[in-house]
């Protein structure tokens, strides 16, 4: 178990999440893919912190987790709001968000 191998796994996870964000149509599926990308970034931060012995990386990962949970709460509230609109929750049909 080396740091480059872990960073490669984190990059693969990030790319899978990026594909999901770009390609999925349902808003909740896009939010789940964003979670995957956040998770990959956290894994990379903790890997670097582990390989260098930096405690600040763990603190940064903790802040990242808290901010991510706050973000998904607001994001899911937006999805609930969008689910009452005629365009429903398919992102390519939600094209009239100009108020």
């Amino acid at each position: 178990m080396t740091a480059p191998a872990l960073l490669l796994v984190a990059s693969a996870l990030f790319s899978i999440g990026l594909f999901g964000v770009l390609a999925r149509r349902h808003a909740i599926a896009v939010l789940l893919s964003i979670e995957l990308m956040f998770n990959a970034v956290n894994l990379a931060v903790v890997t670097v912190a582990w390989s260098r012995g930096w405690l600040a990386g763990v603190v940064l990962a903790l802040f990242g987790i808290a901010i991510t949970v706050a973000e998904i709460a607001v994001g899911l509230a937006l999805v609930l709001l969008a689910s009452r609109m005629p365009g429903r929750v398919l992102l390519d049909e939600l094209s009239e968000l100009d108020g």
Partner: protein, 159 residues
Amino acid sequence: MRDAAFWSLSVLLLGAAAAVVTARSLIRAAFALAGSLLATAALYLLLTSPLLAAVQVLLYTGGVLTLVVFALVVAGANEPAARFRKPLPAGMLALAVFAALASAIGTLPAGPGVGGLESGRDVGLALFGDYLVPFELLSVLLLAAVFGALLLARRERAS
């Protein structure tokens, strides 16, 4: 032993992630996401950071899974006929990003690192010592997120 655990956890993590982005049913995608978050927590354990693993399981996996399942129940998990929109360019872009990241990782110096993190006590001391101001700002952010989510839900109900 550690290597075997690392490789099996990595396969589990990437397989669950692939299931998240390809699953037709959103409930299955949510539980696959929980699986990949749990695999990440086990990787944190391997990275000698048990506090982070506990936070990942309790706060991240539990919180995100609860929120997503709740939203799916309320908003209705009506899957569209087509899951993807233009999957080929998206896949090519994702592959290009992975290739760029992998080539950047290839240039890293391969020297042996320290390979260890401190215990939860030191993390707590750092949080309430050096990082006290960001920690308190984080509570303001969480309060703003709670108020924002409540405001959005409320406006929807009033209209």
